[in-house]
């Protein structure tokens, strides 16, 4: 792990200035921009934001840790989100999560060592009639069971690695 997550030269002071101009001290909107740009919220960017705006770092940290879409650690290139809504729960979402966790060797919330995948659970994706459901990147997959879920993840891993799926 490098000592700094984003090298000094890459902490984008000008970009931060631009988003502050657009959103003022609306921290949620500012953090959404940062999360979108980096896929997580690098500490160095947050400290620069604090220094540039005068918003206390503690307040930034408070908002950053309150909402589930914000992450303070680097996440995988593909985010897998298994729905754990009521309908998915009664139709076996926990088994799906467990199967993927086993296959990728990460706990829910964790990221694989090669940064290929982050496995998350989400409270409800609102596709309850197709339960159990998960999203892999921006694709949604419904009517899952353990086997189908693993097949989807493996296919994605193969595609990402440039292998032709069987």
């Amino acid at each position: 792990m490098p000592a700094r997550e984003v090298p000094d030269s890459e902490v984008p002071a000008a970009w931060l200035e631009a988003i502050v101009l657009r959103h003022g001290d609306d921290l949620v909107a500012l953090l959404q921009e940062i999360q979108k740009k980096y896929g997580f919220m690098p500490k160095d960017v947050l400290t620069t934001l604090a220094a540039q705006t005068g918003i206390a770092l503690a307040r930034i940290f408070g908002v950053a840790t309150f909402y589930s879409s914000f992450s303070l650690t680097r996440r995988g290139r593909t985010i897998i989100r298994v729905c754990k809504g009521t309908a998915c729960h009664v139709r076996g979402a926990a088994r799906v999560t467990e199967a993927i966790a086993q296959r990728l060797a990460v706990a829910p919330g964790g990221t694989t060592e090669d940064l290929a995948f982050t496995l998350e659970t989400v409270s409800c994706l609102g596709c309850c009639s197709l339960a159990p459901v998960m999203t892999v990147g921006s694709d949604t997959h419904g009517r899952l069971n353990r086997q189908r879920a693993i097949a989807v993840v493996e296919e994605r891993a193969d595609t990402a690695a440039g292998r032709t799926p069987q």
Binding site: H23, D25, D26, L27, V28, A29, L30, L31, Q32, G62, V63, F66, Y67, S68, S69, F70, K84, G85, T86, A87, C88, H89, V90, R91, G92, R95, E98, A99, Q102, V122, S123, C124, L125, G126, C127, C128, S129, L130, A131, V133, S138, T140, H141, G142, R143, N145, R146, Q147
Partner: protein
């Protein structure tokens, strides 16, 4: 002119609608056909996704379900050229598809009237089906007071769950002192098992915008904000498009349709917090802060966003307002019962044969939704309960299915109307597990401000965990009840106050199930892992070895092909994988 319409709501897309669309376009290109291809939102028949409507040829208009990309060439050629429809995919045929199909015909589709019919990304299409008609008339002929009076006469109550009279909220916001006023649309639909708002926003975003503009006119607001849940990217995208189109058409912005009304709407994406569905937490989130609820009063109608009077209504409420101003309060009030006028949209899911989006008259029964519309259980097993109202609601047993769907009758059972999540549970669902699931959810989502909610839900979860693992003790149920009372009485916001409801309703209606866990260490539904064993019925097993191959705990011995399998209970993690792959139904849970 032939026309193809593909259902492109989130559920359609999850079932593969984009791949079907690509296959349709490829096939048309190869055939050199000029057939029009359009998209629509969700028709509510989620259980038959992907839905494709073909219009033209000898068959006229037909709706097909379970369409796959592979099926597309044969389906299109069959329908348009040979006049042949595959029976197993045909859902309905005729000029009025809704009247042709039992699932749709037994509903009261009013607010959902345009969903699944119009192209949600086309303002012209929405307007040709009546969008903004009510607004045009109101801005031309009706004063704000007259609009308020119309909404009051309709008897509309907030569809977000609590059922507060919409017109009264607006009157309070209008009467509140303070120059700028805000109209906020709460689209932070967080209840697990609920997707009504997503569907409306994806299927008919202009109906929601129209309702917001009418609200702005009625209360004198200049700015509107839709706060949409982070997990609904398609809804956000369609709302953005809809606001741009509305602005370009003079329906948003300065002097709307030539009236004195200046009003614009922005779309704000949530950052992921269930509690932000609570109105004071939503305001905190809009102000860029942690979404922590505060005490009321002052209510947001007096002091809301940036300290200004703010009227916050739910997505479905705004769509109802648009309907009322188009069809009149009298037509609206013709359906429903006293104090419960109009319709309610439910998202029907779980162990039900026909799951999806349903809209029914208030005052109808749970049985009507579950049996007539939903067609009973999918598994063929007896239905045990419905979970209504999400984490703030409760589980009602089948014996209460004649309960009328209205705000007061549901409250009488210990559940609530809620925002409209309705999950059907068959007898394989364990009620203690369901209660534990919801308490776990509330515990996860508690903002942490009130100790009663933060700590109380954790203590309740610990007790429920214990019961589900077979370590329940005498006195646990009494302790659960007293904790439930404490959490309900001592929390600031609705999340905490209603968090115990799933526990209290299951204790009230399914107490014997709790007692079986505690006294007999038995889960009657065969659900709680620590209390069940997986076994293979030797005379049913074919010895195909499929279960052993998938077993990640190596608990199933491979004796050889053709020999019945056996599960080593000591190694078995009870994941249920073997049961999923068994083609013979030989895996039993005891």
């Amino acid at each position: 002119m032939n026309r193809i319409t593909i259902g492109m709501g989130s559920c359609g897309i999850a079932a593969g609608a984009r791949r079907v669309q690509a296959a349709v376009e490829r096939h048309l290109r190869q055939a050199g056909s000029e057939t029009e291809v359009r998209i629509t939102g969700c028709l509510g028949l989620c259980y038959r996704e992907v839905l494709v409507e073909l219009d033209g040829g000898a068959l006229g208009r037909c709706l097909y379900g379970d369409v796959t990309p592979e099926l597309v060439p044969a389906l299109l050629d069959g329908h348009f050229q040979h006049g042949v429809a595959p029976v197993d995919r045909l859902i309905a045929r005729g000029a009025d598809l809704e009247a042709e199909h039992a699932y749709l015909a037994t509903q009261h589709r009013r607010v959902l009237g345009r969903c699944g019919r119009i192209d949600p990304e086309s303002l012209a299409d929405a307007r040709s089906y009546g969008a903004y008609r009510g607004l045009e008339r109101a801005l031309a002929n009706a004063s704000p007071a007259a609009v308020l009076a119309e909404v009051a006469a309709s008897g509309l109550r907030g569809r977000g769950g609590a059922g507060f009279p919409t017109a009264r909220k607006w009157q309070l916001a209008r009467a509140a002192a303070g120059g700028d006023r805000y109209v906020v649309c709460n689209a932070d639909e967080g209840d697990p098992g609920a997707f009504m708002d997503r569907n409306l926003l994806e299927g008919d975003p202009h109906a929601v915008l129209e309702g917001m503009i009418l609200a702005a006119w009625a209360i004198g607001a200049g700015q509107g904000i839709v706060y949409v849940r982070d997990e609904y990217p398609l809804a956000v995208q369609r709302l953005h498009k809809a606001t741009q189109q509305a602005r370009a058409a003079g329906l948003l912005g300065r002097a709307i349709l030539g009236s004195p009304l200046d009003f614009d709407v922005s779309v704000r994406r949530g950052a992921g917090a269930f509690v932000c569905g609570e109105e004071t937490a939503l305001i905190a989130a809009l102000e860029g802060e942690r979404g922590i609820p505060r005490r009321r009063p002052p209510f947001p109608v007096e002091r809301g966003l940036w300290g200004k009077p703010t009227s916050i209504n739910n997505v479905e409420t705004y769509a109802n307002v648009a309907w009322i101003l188009d069809h009149g309060a009298e037509a609206f009030a013709q359906c429903g019962s006293d104090g419960n006028r109009g319709t309610k949209i439910f998202s029907l899911a779980g162990d039900v044969r026909r799951g999806g989006m349903v809209e029914v008259e208030l005052g109808t029964t749970i049985r009507h939704i579950v049996q007539t519309i939903g067609g009973g259980s999918r598994s063929g097993r007896p239905i045990k309960a419905v979970q209504i109202g999400g984490p703030s609601g409760g589980c009602l047993p089948a014996s209460l299915f004649d309960t009328s769907i209205d705000y007061e009758a549901l409250r009488g059972t210990g559940a609530i109307m809620g925002s409209g999540g309705l999950v059907v549970l068959d007898d394989s669902a364990c009620m203690v597990d369901v209660a534990r699931y919801f308490v776990g959810f509330s515990q996860d989502e508690s903002c942490g401000r009130c100790s009663a909610c933060r700590v109380g839900t954790r203590r309740m979860q610990e007790i429920l965990d214990r019961i589900c693992s077979g370590h329940g003790k005498q006195g646990d149920l009494e302790q659960l009840e007293s904790l439930a009372d404490l959490v309900a009485a001592s929390s600031t916001c609705g999340l905490g106050r209603s968090a115990p409801a799933p526990v209290l309703t299951t204790l009230r209606w399914f107490r014997a199930e709790y007692e079986a866990h505690i006294a007999e260490h038995r889960c009657p539904a065969g659900r709680c892992r620590d209390l069940v064993r997986y076994e293979i019925e030797a005379h049913v097993c074919d010895g195909c070895t499929r279960c052993a191959e998938q077993c990640s705990s190596s608990a199933i011995s491979l004796l050889g092909a053709g020999i019945p399998m056996a599960i080593d209970s000591g190694r078995c993690s009870r994941c249920g994988g073997c049961r999923e792959v068994c083609a013979f139904g030989a895996v039993l849970v005891r």
